[in-house]
């Protein structure tokens, strides 16, 4: 079937385009293991990695705390303006990252400038939609009859939420939280504006690149890719 082969060869361009840089960067780093080891002992790097992991985790937790209840309400209730709320949840995806930083600074100014709060603020803005949408989809998939039966058996709605709805929706909520975490740790543009310090690993990559060039920034990149891919594989 020539058409399909033709399409497949066209399409494989993109597959190669995505796969090649991943393979190349790991391959090149393998031939330069000394630098990788050195980087892992660089206190700047470990400090930055710690910052990235902590802020991304904090972001995911905040997104869970507020996003899961929001997802539940979106799944269970109709209210005026619901479609506007739904649209608003998806807005952060389309706004340029540097602009997100400017927006947050314009709104919260010094309260977030160059602080952990600022990093988390930037991360939360761009990554919360993943938790909200996943929680909503998860709760939509919970049979309302199951909740209704639990209530007839004497449980309040809150108790039903924690003993029935949330456990059933857990896989979806968890994968949303992981996506939020991954999106948070991938953010650079907004963080550069809001909080260059405290230094996060993804910003440090850029700084080392600007100050010491490609070879210096490559090992941190490899470490970050490894972390991201691990998370990604966990998610599947």
């Amino acid at each position: 079937d020539y058409t399909l082969y033709f399409f497949a060869s066209l399409g494989s361009f993109l597959i190669v385009y995505i796969a090649l840089p991943l393979v190349v960067i790991f391959a090149k780093q393998l031939s330069d293991l000394g630098m990788l080891v050195k980087t892992l002992h660089d206190p700047y790097v470990t400090e930055a990695l710690r910052n990235s992991l902590l802020t991304a985790t904090a972001t995911a937790l905040i997104a869970l705390l507020f996003g899961v209840p929001l997802g539940y309400v979106l799944a269970r209730r109709d209210f005026p303006g619901k479609s506007l709320v739904q649209a608003l949840v998806d807005v952060p995806i389309v706004i340029p990252h540097s602009v997100v930083g400017i927006m947050l600074l314009v709104t919260f100014s010094n309260a977030i400038l160059d602080s952990y709060t600022g990093i988390i603020a930037a991360m939360l803005f761009v990554s919360a939609p993943f938790t909200i949408n996943a929680a909503r989809d998860g709760f939509l998939a919970v049979d309302e009859k199951v909740e209704a039966v639990a209530r007839t058996l004497g449980a309040s709605r809150l108790r039903v939420f924690f003993s029935v709805s949330l456990p059933i929706a857990f896989p979806s909520v968890a994968s949303g939280a992981i996506m939020t975490w991954a999106r948070a740790i991938s953010e650079v543009g907004a963080i550069l504006i809001v909080a260059y310090y405290p230094k996060t690993a993804q910003v440090l990559v850029m700084e080392y690149f600007n100050n010491y060039g490609l070879r210096a920034s490559r090992p941190i990149s490899v470490i970050l890719i490894a972390i991201s891919l691990t998370i990604f594989v966990l998610l599947r």
């Binding site: 049979d143 209704a148 039966v149 007839t152 058996l153 004497g154 449980a155 029935v164």
Partner: protein, 344 residues
């Protein structure tokens, strides 16, 4: 026990209209109606899951209309059973007791007891998704009955089961009722369930409860044309009666009883005999008819016949259709006994 007064509700495509019913202590009350009649909506209003637009629900004399489901103490078994997929069978059954803060050994004892009655002791550690339909139904019943509710609401409890399981569970249900002595409000579209389980039956059509009474009374004396239709009198013929003759657009039909003036008679499709040659028999009404259309219902075929202006629906088996070569446009003879006619 339960009294519902003037319940009305518009919900999605369902419209409940002024439903009043009473279920007595120890009774098995069946609401019988076609799908789409609004039976489930009524159950959920009584359970407190849906709010009625108007009307009140009383439970043991107390007005519970404004109480949330968890304050009513009724047990509800929905059609899909709605077991908690995240819990074992044991935890499913124990759920209502845990919520009621019953002490642990007591919970253990009660779950064992009800599991024995329902023969599901061997399933207690399993997850619901690993159970067969019949097992799920038993677990759902156990979960509902273990809290000893004043009333249990059953929504088509046998609809999702295969024939064998269904037959078995129907018989067992009677035993459970004897052993546990619960009161049930049970909605179904199945005539069989109504006959085997119902103390009383209410016929629900288009969101209204149109006839309530003992099962056999309802089936033998439908109060109206629409109940009659639901109970299988698909042909309703209107005409002018004079003695034992009914005249309809020039056709003359023999009646089983004397009547006078404008009357309507009901006739079941299975009581019409179709033949290609006239059957000479003094006891029968016999007419020439044209086959208008044919509808296959598995082994049975529904044939629409026109006798001049009258359209009659008759059932014949698929094999008779083949043997008689019945197809659209064919001329046939339709006959039925006067005694098959039900005069309203």
């Amino acid at each position: 026990m339960l009294r519902a007064e003037g319940i009305s509700k518009d919900w999605k495509e369902f419209h409940l209209r002024d439903i009043t019913l009473e279920v007595k202590e120890g009774e098995h009350f069946i609401i019988l109606g076609p799908s789409g009649a609004g039976k489930t909506v009524l159950l959920e209003i009584i359970a407190g899951i849906i709010e009625p637009d108007s009307g009140r629900v009383y439970l043991g004399g107390r007005d519970v209309t404004d109480l949330p489901p968890e304050k009513r103490g009724l047990a509800y078994v929905p059609q899909n059973y709605a077991l908690f997929p995240n819990m074992s069978v044991y935890d499913n059954i124990a759920f209502g007791l845990k919520v009621r803060k019953v002490p642990k050994p007591e919970i253990e004892r009660k779950v064992r007891e009800i599991s024995e009655v329902l023969k599901i002791e061997h399933l207690l550690h399993r997850k619901p998704r690993t159970l067969s339909g019949g097992e799920q139904q038993r677990v759902a019943l156990a979960r509902a009955l273990v809290v000893e509710p004043p009333l249990i609401l059953l929504d088509e409890p046998f609809a999702n089961l295969d024939v064998q399981t269904r037959a078995k569970l129907l018989t067992e249900m009677k035993r459970w009722k004897r052993e546990l002595g619960f009161t049930a409000l049970h909605v179904t579209h199945s005539f069989e369930e109504a006959i085997s389980l119902g103390d009383r039956v209410g016929v629900m059509l288009d969101g209204r409860l149109v006839q309530v009474g003992k099962v056999r009374d309802v089936f033998s004396r439908p109060v109206s044309e629409e109940v009659a239709r639901f109970l299988g009198f698909e042909n309703i013929i209107e005409g002018i009666a004079e003695g034992r003759k009914l005249r309809v657009n020039g056709v003359e039909i023999e009646l089983p009883v004397e009547a006078k003036g404008r009357v309507r008679v009901g006739l079941r499709p299975e009581d019409i005999i179709i033949s290609t040659e006239p059957i000479r028999s003094s006891a029968r009404n016999e007419f020439k008819a044209i086959v208008e259309s044919i509808e296959e219902l598995g082994p049975l075929v529904r044939v629409h016949l026109s006798l001049g202006d009258i359209i009659l629906t008759a059932f014949i088996t698929r094999s008779s259709m083949l043997e008689l070569g019945i197809e659209k446009g064919k001329e046939v003879y339709a006959s039925f006994k006067a005694s098959a006619l039900h005069v309203f």
